[in-house]
């Protein structure tokens, strides 16, 4: 069964507009969630993570995500995007020793 689902494969957005990337996960006892970003021709880098505590998590580069247990969601948001935010974004869930990734959302920021 798919553990992490990213609902949008591509999201075009204009510069300085807000963006939301949707992620849903399969429920489990312990939930540890992550967002990673992949810039063109590079490996993945951690944007933010939810382990416990506050459901609103702030990450690097102005990104934040909200953990919603009842909706099993962990959506990523940024209020105003830059051209440099053009990248692919991956939601991931930790389970035991492994990290399971969603299919990715490609964000294209247009001037």
């Amino acid at each position: 069964a798919q553990s992490v689902t990213q609902l949008d494969s591509q999201v075009p957005v204009f510069e300085e507009a807000p963006v939301e990337l949707r992620c849903n996960y399969s429920s489990s006892v312990s939930v540890y969630l992550f967002w990673y970003v992949q810039y063109p021709n590079q490996g993945l880098q951690l944007l933010l993570k939810y382990l416990s505590g506050s459901t609103l998590v702030k990450g690097i580069n102005g990104f934040e995500a909200e953990f919603n247990k009842s909706q099993t969601s962990f959506h990523l948001r940024k209020p105003s995007v830059h051209i440099s935010d053009t990248a692919e974004y991956f939601c991931a869930k930790a389970a035991g020793n492994k990290l399971t990734f969603g299919g990715g959302t490609r964000v294209l920021v247009k001037p």
Partner: protein, 114 residues
């Protein structure tokens, strides 16, 4: 800071050939992983290791083998390459302190099998 280093960055193989993708990390991480990335499919775990001498299968291990003789190195071997193994391969590592540790990725190895 080197972090996770993968070689080669690019390789073209003929069907049936074999090769090894090298991965080295200098952060003294216990946990190491090999993923493959295909368009629209995200990253799929091939193999992982929780320490020297210990390896385990991930979601898509068929056609691959790994070994972990040292903490630093985690090579991935492809035997009898097939077109279905055309992909971008990423090695990653993290500390073994908790499930919640950040993964550090290499820059990837792009493999084409013709």
């Amino acid at each position: 800071n080197a972090g996770v280093t993968q070689t080669p960055k690019f390789r073209i193989l003929k069907i049936g050939q074999s090769m090894t993708l090298q991965c080295t990390q200098d952060m003294n991480h216990n946990y190491m992983y090999w993923y493959r990335q295909d368009p629209g499919m995200g990253l799929k775990l091939i193999y992982y290791s929780v320490g020297a001498g210990i390896t385990d299968k991930g979601e898509v291990p068929n056609g691959y083998n790994v070994s972990r003789s040292t903490t630093e190195d985690f090579p991935l071997r492809l035997e009898l390459a097939a077109p279905s193994q055309t992909s971008v391969y990423f090695c990653a590592s993290r500390t073994g302190l908790a499930t919640t540790g950040e993964l550090f990725f290499g820059e990837g190895s792009r493999l084409t099998v013709l």
